[in-house]
Structure formats: structure tokens, C-alpha cells
């Protein structure tokens, strides 16, 4: 009998085999996917040669449309066609309605989990993003000829924890494995930095459809160190459109509320006018009103500049503050990189040039640069470039803290702290015999709890009764490399522990996510089972591969007994993972992980001491 070696897609059988990976720019208005192929990062296009996918999802009676086909329905079927879902993700209903009062949707769901009622039922903004991701994933599979091992998804640097978590949840629902969430300006810096090999301080000015980021980075021998980042997660080119729409409404003497399709039409005409005015001095606009009459006007570049001037100024103020945070003067900035479609607006370019006193770089298409940077990072992360010198050191965009007495916020991790980071703060009880303590986690720069974003609340219970001030409660904040926070609290003398992955306030809980995954599969229960099995098998083979490589390199750090234990755990995992039992694979994985915990730590410590021992020799 011939032996066939069957390799699952995306699962490598040989180490260092080229793995498929991609970078996704999940934008407010447009999304792209890019990949590194034979050393070159480029965007992937659909079967009609288009690489930009409008971030629009339309819920029709018997199918879901994404991209251009959905865009075509955005006026006539505004209520079922969702645009700019990124502006809604991870936000409360109140937040959305105060910021965007004229959205044409029928909102439902609760305050912290707003949903949009479509003809296919209630849809969460996370699910809308998941549809966009699915569509890009299919495109990449077709273009690259196989399933992706993992992707890097970019997010605005200024995204808060809830928005980041929601983005990761969307990928989970779409069935995509996320290697890393990467900040958009950092991705752009990678795309430019690797191109030019430049060293020194650069500024990345990223004005997208719905978000604005400014990042200051120091580039040095493949290391991209973010010094500071700032911006506004609710300011972008869409706001230019909104300013124009308001102007049109006023000029045409219209009275709100307007019909959803008229609102959409006004938005499209505003966007059209803005785009035309990048090259022209004047543009004519025609709007067909609900009574079928036409209203016409013309708009000059000067008028546009006046309408958007204060918004552009707002971005420059953020630049000033971020430079100050980075402790960098404008003269030290050697290059300004422009990212995002909205940087095509002439006023934006001229004002940025004036502010930084140098001509901004626009040599890479500002629509594609983020996806390209993400693709380069994905290629490295997936392990295709083991000798890469590239390292991205990013920061937390917003301060993280806890509520203390009197409704004040005590900062635990200040903004612009390099991630990953772990910080602990000690608190005590203020009443005799107090046995529980409420922990309220907040994000933001302001002093008062009410002015910051509430991320989560939890309670540490079972503290032994002591006199006030005797208990030592240690609250630990950890932010991982994706910028995601987890918080734990412990009473030190008794060891009572309570911890939380910060997500409940605005994110979706795990049950809801698995429900959504099930809903999105045709044959729910079986598919789900198959997917879990597949995930465990991939993890098992990854662990075996890495432990074997580790043994080969560093078995000298182990006793013979320890080696024997590890080897037998490998053997049993290898055997079990051939089967169909998810639980058994999980158990065998845990056993192997337990047996290698000390080994993994010793290896890491030994590589730390070796890294600088080499340097000491270099210096001599």
C-alpha cells in the first residue's frame, strides 16, 4: 500500500516551508488585502482586477453582498446596506447616535451592544466587519492558491481596547487566524522604512475615512520604535463629507430628518465634490430631492477649504501634542509620510507641509501603503523570514487606569508606554472587615471617571476580614503585543485571586461569538466540531515542531530525565492528534506544555544572556 502524506492546507509538514500569510487593511471606507510573493509585497485584486474593496455590506433577502455590488445598493436600499461599520465597532449606542445623528439605520440591541435591524434580522457591527474579512480571505485564497496560515489586521493606532477586541472578534467570526493587530501608521512606516532603509525620526500622518492617527517613530537598523502616537478615532475624510452635507442642507433649505436615501445621496455627492476639487477649482452638484425636483449648486475649492479648515487644524494640534509626548522637535523629524485616502485633499497636504516645514512623502499609494506594510509584517510573523532583523516596538495609545475614591482615575499604564507591558499597583481596604473590592478599569487621559472610557468592572471577593488598610490588594494590568488589556487582582496575604480579560462592557462575550460562528456556517454543529478539531491539530503540530527544534538546539539545558519526560509527552500528543477527539488532543497538549514550561523559560533566559554576551565581545 502506498503511503500518502496528507498535509492540511495552511499546515506545514516541513519546517521553513513557505507559509501563506497576508496583511489586511480593514478600512472605514475601503479595505485591501496584500501579500508578499517572491519577495515583493503587493495588493491582491479580485477576479475583475480591482484591489480596493469598498467596506460596504448589503443584507439582501437571500444573500449578503460585499464591496462594489453592495455599494450599488447603498442609496436605494440604505437601511439594509451598511457603510463605515468601523465607525460603529466597539461603541455604545449613545456614543454612535451623538456622533453620527443622521445614520440611515434602524438601531436595535442594547445600549452597550447596539445592532442594526436589517431584513436578515439584527446585525452587529462586528459581524459586518467579519463579512468584509471573509470576502478578502476568499480573494487571497484564490490569488495565493491555498488557505492562509495567518493574517495581520491593521487598526488605527488610536483605537481603544473595545475597538481592538471587536476587530479581533470579527476575524474569529470570519474564521481567520490573526497573527497580530498592527497599528496603521506603524504598518505604513514599515512599507516606507524597508523601502528606503532610512535611519532617524519620521512622522506618519494618517488621515483615513473615519480615523486620524499621527505617530512619531525612530528607525534604526530594522527596528521601528514608536515614540508616541496620538490622534482621534472619530475624525476623518467622512467628516469632511459631513461638513459638506450640512452645508448643502443649509443652502438647499432642507429640513432634517431627511429620507435615508436622500442622506446617502447627499453623502455621495459631498464625497464626489471633495474628490473633484483635488484637481479642479470648482465643481457643479445636482441633488434630486424627494419630490423628484433637482437642486443644483456649485462649490469652489476655496469654499471647501473654509468648510474643512477647522478639521484640518484639529489634526495639526494632535501633531503638536504628539511631538511633545515623543520629546521630539519638528526639526528632528527627517521625513513625513502621508497615509490614507484623505491625504489627497490639497488643503491637508499643504497644511501638513507648512506644519512640518518639509514636503511630505507620498511615493507609495496612500490607499495601499498600510496593507503593504501589514503584508511585510505578516510574512515575518508567520516565519517565512527567520533571519529578519525587523522589529516593531509599538505603544499604548491611551492611558489605562482604575477608579479610586471620589470618582477619580488613577493611571496604571500611561499612554505611549511600549508594549507588551505589565504593571501592578497596590491598593488597600478602607473599611474594617471589608471582604470585597470593586475594580473599575478605565481608558483615557482625563482625571474624572465620567470623562474616561469604561472598559470593565469586576469584583475581588473573599478577602479575609481585616482592619481597614491591612489588606494588600495587588491589581495587575497586562497589555499584550496586540495592544489588548487583561486585568487581574489578588489579595496578597491570602492569595485570593480574581481576574478578567477586559471585554464585557462593549465587546461580545465568548458565547455570543461562538453563536455567530455557528450561525455563519451552513451545517452548524458539524462544521464547528470540524473547525475546533482542525485548530487543535494545527496547534499540536506547531507545538511538536517547536519543541523538537528546541530539544535539538538546547537539550543541554535539561537533565536526561527531563528530556525523557518531554519526549514521551511529544509521542503521546503526536499519536492523539491523528485522531478525532478534540478533548484528548487538548489534554495531551496541556501535558506537553506542562512538561516544557521550565525548559521554555530556561531557553528564553539563556538567549537573553547570550544576546548581550555577543555584544560585549563586539565592543572589545
Amino acid at each position: 500500500m502506498a503511503l500518502l502524506q496528507i498535509a492540511e492546507p495552511g499546515q506545514s509538514t516541513v519546517p521553513h516551508e513557505h507559509r501563506l500569510a497576508a496583511g489586511i487593511d480593514l478600512g472605514t471606507t475601503n479595505s485591501l488585502i496584500a501579500s508578499v510573493q517572491s519577495g515583493n509585497a503587493s495588493t491582491l485584486s479580485d477576479d475583475q482586477g480591482r484591489d480596493i474593496l469598498p467596506s460596504i455590506v448589503s443584507y439582501q433577502a437571500d444573500n449578503i453582498l460585499v464591496g462594489q455590488t453592495a455599494q450599488a445598493l447603498s442609496i436605494e436600499d440604505a437601511q439594509n446596506t451598511i457603510t463605515s461599520a468601523k465607525r460603529l465597532i466597539g461603541r455604545s449606542l449613545q456614543d454612535i447616535q451623538s456622533k453620527y445623528p443622521s445614520l440611515p439605520y434602524d438601531f436595535c440591541g442594547d445600549e452597550n451592544h447596539p445592532e442594526i435591524m436589517t431584513r436578515q434580522g439584527a446585525v452587529n457591527p462586528v459581524q459586518v466587519s467579519a463579512e468584509i474579512l471573509k470576502s478578502l480571505n476568499l480573494r487571497a485564497q484564490a490569488a495565493l492558491g491555498g488557505e492562509l496560515t495567518g493574517v495581520v489586521i491593521t487598526v488605527p493606532a488610536h483605537f481603544d481596547d473595545a475597538q481592538r477586541q471587536s476587530t479581533k472578534d470579527a476575524a474569529k467570526i470570519a474564521g481567520i487566524s490573526v497573527l497580530r493587530l498592527l497599528n496603521e501608521p506603524t504598518a505604513a512606516a514599515v512599507a516606507y522604512g524597508l523601502d528606503s532603509g532610512q535611519e532617524g525620526v519620521i512622522a506618519v500622518y494618517d488621515l483615513g475615512g473615519g480615523t486620524f492617527d499621527i505617530s512619531i517613530l525612530r528607525l534604526n537598523k530594522g527596528v521601528f520604535e514608536v515614540l508616541a502616537t496620538g490622534g482621534d478615532s472619530a475624525l476623518g475624510g467622512d467628516d469632511f463629507d459631513v461638513a459638506l452635507v450640512d452645508y448643502f442642507v443649509e443652502q438647499a433649505g432642507l429640513v432634517r430628518p431627511l429620507s435615508p436615501s436622500l442622506e446617502r445621496q447627499l453623502m455621495q455627492q459631498a464625497c464626489f465634490a471633495k474628490e473633484q476639487l483635488t484637481a479642479k477649482e470648482q465643481v457643479d452638484i445636482t441633488i434630486s430631492l424627494d419630490d423628484n425636483s433637482d437642486w443644483q449648486t456649485s462649490l469652489t475649492k476655496a469654499q471647501l477649504n473654509e468648510l474643512i479648515g477647522s478639521l484640518v487644524n484639529k489634526t495639526l494640534r494632535a501633531c503638536r501634542r504628539t511631538l511633545k509626548d515623543a520629546d521630539i522637535t519638528i526639526d528632528e523629524v527627517i521625513e513625513v509620510v502621508m497615509v490614507g485616502g484623505s491625504t489627497r485633499v490639497p488643503l491637508v497636504r499643504s497644511e501638513v507641509e507648512k506644519h512640518f516645514n518639509k514636503k511630505p512623502l507620498t511615493s507609495i499609494d496612500p490607499d495601499k501603503v498600510v496593507a503593504i506594510g501589514a503584508a511585510i509584517q505578516a510574512d515575518v510573523l508567520v516565519g517565512n523570514k527567520p533571519d529578519s532583523d525587523m522589529l516593531l516596538l509599538d505603544v499604548t495609545p491611551l492611558s489605562l487606569g482604575l477608579e479610586t475614591m471620589g470618582g477619580l482615575v488613577e493611571k496604571v499604564i500611561p499612554r505611549n508606554t511600549t508594549i507588551p507591558v505589565a504593571k501592578a499597583q497596590e491598593f488597600t481596604t478602607f473599611k474594617d472587615g471589608q471582604t470585597a473590592m470593586a475594580v473599575h478599569v478605565l481608558q483615557g487621559e482625563r482625571e474624572l471617571v465620567d470623562d474616561c472610557r469604561s472598559l470593565a468592572r469586576f469584583e475581588l471577593r473573599g478577602i479575609p476580614a481585616m482592619t481597614a488598610g491591612a489588606a494588600h490588594i495587588r491589581v495587575t494590568f497586562k497589555v499584550d503585543a496586540d495592544g489588548l488589556l487583561s486585568v487581574s487582582a489578588m489579595e496578597k496575604s491570602s492569595g485570593v485571586e480574581s481576574s478578567i480579560e477586559v471585554k464585557p462592557s462593549f465587546g461580545l462575550d465568548d458565547n455570543k461569538i461562538s453563536q455567530m460562528i455557528k450561525d455563519s456556517m451552513s451545517n452548524a454543529a458539524d462544521d464547528m466540531q470540524a473547525r475546533m478539531l482542525k485548530e487543535q491539530q494545527v496547534e499540536a503540530s506547531r507545538v511538536i515542531e517547536s519543541v523538537q527544534a528546541a530539544l535539538l538546539a538546547d537539550s543541554k539545558l535539561l537533565t536526561t530525565d527531563e528530556v525523557t519526560i518531554i519526549e514521551s509527552a511529544i509521542k503521546s500528543l503526536a499519536q492523539v492528534s491523528q485522531g478525532q477527539e478534540v478533548k484528548a488532543i487538548e489534554n495531551a497538549l496541556d501535558r506537553l506544555n506542562d512538561s516544557t514550561a521550565v525548559f521554555a523559560e530556561r531557553r528564553m533566559d539563556s538567549s537573553i544572556s547570550q544576546a548581550l554576551a555577543g555584544q560585549a565581545v563586539d565592543k572589545m
Binding site: 507559509r19 496560515t149 495567518g150 497573527l179 497580530r180 534604526n220 537598523k221 527596528v223 520604535e225 494640534r317 501634542r321 511633545k324 509584517q377 515575518v380 510573523l381 508567520v382 516565519g383 532583523d389 522589529l391 516593531l392 516596538l393 508606554t417 511600549t418 508594549i419 507588551p420 507591558v421 505589565a422 504593571k423 497586562k478 499584550d480 503585543a481 496547534e539 506547531r542 507545538v543 517547536s546 519543541v547 506544555n593 516544557t596 514550561a597 521554555a600 523559560e601 528564553m604 533566559d605 538567549s607 537573553i608 544576546a611 548581550l612 555584544q615 560585549a616
Partner: protein
């Protein structure tokens, strides 16, 4: 292993920031979670932990006040907690004057100039006091360490004032 050993640099208050930063980057190239993105979850977890420790150590040595505190604690000097009262009434008086100066900025006829004045005064007093502390740390005896500790606390007052200045600046220029 203390932080200076970790970065393989001389244990002194006068740190060569270039050298520190270069060691830091070398270490992060070894342990950063990005280097383990395709490894097992266990290795990823340890990488996050080590990388966070190295970030913390780097921040501590990079920032002069944190570095001073770290050195003094390593020497066994006990840091009084923040509520501990100050004996130096002259210093406290000066702090109150500075605070008043800051509060008056927004009533000034030339806000920009008034703010710049306050910033100049704060930064010159801060650097004078820093110099004194630096000398005391390098003397390294029981008395000088205690004196350095006292000055470190004073410098933290200035740091807090600087935060107030930033806040004021934001509120003045954010229309």
C-alpha cells in the same frame, strides 16, 4: 540580575542612553513576541512576559527620576511614602508660589509669554535640583543617599507641576 546587568551597562546614574538603547533593542530582538508569533502558545506567553520585563527595565533606566529611585532602592535606602510630610518649609513655600504663578497664567494679558515664563522657571529649578541629586548619588554614602532621596521627592513635585502645565496648555489651546 539587576537592570544594569541585564543591559550589560555600568551601574551608575550617568547612563549612556545610546548604549542602553542599543542593548535594549538587541534584547527585544531576542524575546519580543513577534519573534514567536508562529511558535506554541506557551512560548508566546513567556515571550510576552520577558518582553514586558525588559520594557519595564528599559523605561526605569531611561527616565532619570525612575533611574535615581531604582539606584537608591538597590542601595537599601527606604523611600518614604508620598504622604510622608516634608520638613523643608522653604521648599513647600516655593511650590505654593509656583502653583500660584501657574494659576495666574490664564488671567495674563499675554498667555503664551506667561506660560513660557512658568515653563522656563520650572525647568531651570528642576535641572539645578537634578544636578545636586546627581552629585549626592555619586557620593554614595549613608548621608548623601538620604539627601538624594529627599531631593528625588522634591523633583517629583516638579514633575507633577509639569503635568499641570501640560494640562493647562491643552485647555488653553483646545478651542
Amino acid at each position: 540580575m539587576n537592570y544594569f546587568q541585564l543591559f550589560n551597562i555600568e551601574a551608575s546614574f550617568d547612563v549612556d542612553i545610546q548604549e542602553l538603547s542599543s542593548s535594549y533593542q538587541t534584547l527585544q530582538k531576542t524575546v519580543h513576541p513577534d519573534k514567536f508569533a508562529h511558535s506554541s502558545e506557551q512560548e508566546q506567553r513567556i515571550a510576552v512576559q520577558k518582553s514586558a520585563q525588559i520594557n519595564d527595565a528599559y523605561q526605569t533606566l531611561k527616565n532619570p527620576l525612575q533611574r535615581a529611585e531604582y539606584i537608591l532602592v538597590q542601595r537599601g535606602v527606604e523611600m518614604p511614602n508620598e504622604q510622608h510630610s516634608f520638613q523643608d518649609t522653604g521648599f513647600l513655600m516655593r511650590q505654593m508660589e509656583l502653583r500660584e504663578m501657574l494659576e495666574d497664567v490664564k488671567f495674563s494679558s499675554n498667555v503664551d509669554a506667561a506660560l513660557a515664563d512658568v515653563q522656563n522657571v520650572l525647568s531651570s529649578e528642576f535641572s539645578q535640583l537634578s544636578q545636586v541629586m546627581r552629585t549626592q548619588i555619586s557620593e554614595n554614602n549613608a548621608a548623601s543617599n538620604l539627601a538624594a532621596c529627599d531631593n528625588l521627592r522634591k523633583l517629583k513635585f516638579y514633575q507633577k507641576l509639569n503635568v499641570e502645565v501640560d494640562r493647562l496648555e491643552d485647555s488653553l489651546f483646545d478651542d
